[in-house]
Structure formats: structure tokens, C-alpha cells
């Protein structure tokens, strides 16, 4: 499935969403993320640098991921959201709930997480 790519398996877990996250694929992505998260006890970074589009269906996936990590006492962060994706996350209030990583590269952000 092109929509979900595991970039790093642990410490933290980094998953990239690619392309679009919308009503047509949100359920499939949701199921895939449930599988991935079931095998992880780590903080999660969602790499959205290759995500061009997100709708309300996609926001539900992000919310699920965050609550899943919260239940384990772990953190979720977002990296690389841009354009309309960043704007959607901003107006929907997601950055009050999920940390937005501001480092220039994902590697820099991982270093900063310590």
C-alpha cells in the first residue's frame, strides 16, 4: 500500500503517510496503523512531508494514532506537514494536541527528542 511507509521501526517509531489520506483510503490506512501500532511501545512520529492532501477522514486516523500512543503513555509528533495539509491540521486544532516538529530534517528532530 503506497499510503503508509514505516521509516523507522523503533525509538521512535516513524511512519510516513504518502499521497492522500481521504475518505477513499482512510479505513485501509486506519487498519494498517492499528497493525503497526500493536507491535510498538514507542513514541510515534508521523512524517507528513510526502502527504499532499488530508480530509476529515484522515484526521480521524491521526486522532486514533495519537490516542493509541497516549494510552501507553507515549507521545505522538507530526513532522513535515505542508501546504493545505498543514492548514487543515492548524484550523482543526491538532497542533494543540500533537507536537509539531520544527527541525529542518527528520534526523535533527530525532536527535532533539533525545
Amino acid at each position: 500500500m503506497e499510503s503508509v511507509e514505516i521509516k523507522r521501526k523503533a525509538d521512535p517509531l516513524i511512519v510516513a503517510f504518502v499521497g492522500k489520506l481521504d475518505s477513499l483510503n482512510a479505513q485501509e490506512v486506519y487498519s494498517r496503523m492499528e497493525e503497526i501500532l500493536a507491535n510498538s511501545q514507542d513514541d510515534l512520529i508521523l512524517d507528513l512531508s510526502q502527504l499532499d492532501y488530508i480530509s476529515s477522514a484522515g484526521l480521524q486516523v491521526l486522532l486514533m494514532c495519537t490516542k493509541n500512543r497516549q494510552a501507553l503513555g507515549k507521545k505522538t509528533s507530526i513532522y513535515g506537514a505542508k501546504g493545505v495539509v498543514d492548514e487543515v491540521l492548524t484550523v482543526a486544532g491538532f497542533y494543540s494536541f500533537i507536537e509539531k516538529l520544527n527541525g529542518t530534517t527528520l534526523e535533527k528532530n530525532i536527535e532533539n527528542l533525545g
Binding site: 492532501y53 480530509s55 476529515s56 477522514a57 486522532l63 493545505v84 487543515v88 484550523v91 486544532g93 494536541f97
Partner: protein, 128 residues
Amino acid sequence: MRLDLCQHGLEDALELVDSFTRERGVSEDLGLRLRLVFEELASNVFVHSKRAGATFLKVCLDYRDGKVAIKMAYDGPPFDPTNFRDKRMDQPLEKREGGGWGLFLVKQFAQNLKYERKGEVNNLIVEI
């Protein structure tokens, strides 16, 4: 274009928008905003209105002077999205179980949203 809700799905409706964006040379940013507003409105028709008895969705798209206009008409019971507020939006994100962002995003990204009921048909005009 008229979509029969029993024969077509949301995917067909979104393909209509994607084709329009490509063929008319709509900018990428505006095209994504158009897709977002349309997806949120159309998914309500395909899910909620259809469940309540709606049978068709008519869509007309227009692009001029750097703006896109969407005209949508659908049957079924009256539903005015300009007056609807999902109560889930009153809950903080940490406590929210479901979504509720659909029409909220429409109102954030659309410059104009007008609704009118004519006979048995719901009519929406949206400018982006």
C-alpha cells in the same frame, strides 16, 4: 454531471473533480482546496443523505477569475449544511471519539456557502 447514488460512489465524484482540476489547469493549491470542500460535502450526501433516501447528486464546476464554484443538487430530506454544527466539535480533541470536522473544514476553506431548498431538492453553491 448527474450521479446516481445507487450506481456511483464517492470515488466517481472525486474523480470528476480531479479531472476538472487537470483539464482546466487549476493551480495545485486551489485544486486541493476544491477537492477538500467537495469531498466533505459529497461524502455527506453519499453517506447521510443516501441513508435518508436521496437518489442522486448533480454536480457542476466552474473555474474563472482564479476561483472555483461548485453547484451541487441532491434529493432526499432537507439538509442545510450552512446551519449545521456538529456537537462533537464542542469537545476537546483529547476526549473526542469520532470526527465532526467535515462541515467545519468546509466553512473554513470555502469563501461562500449558500443553501436553498427548491421543491424536493437541496441546492448548494460554494465558492473557493
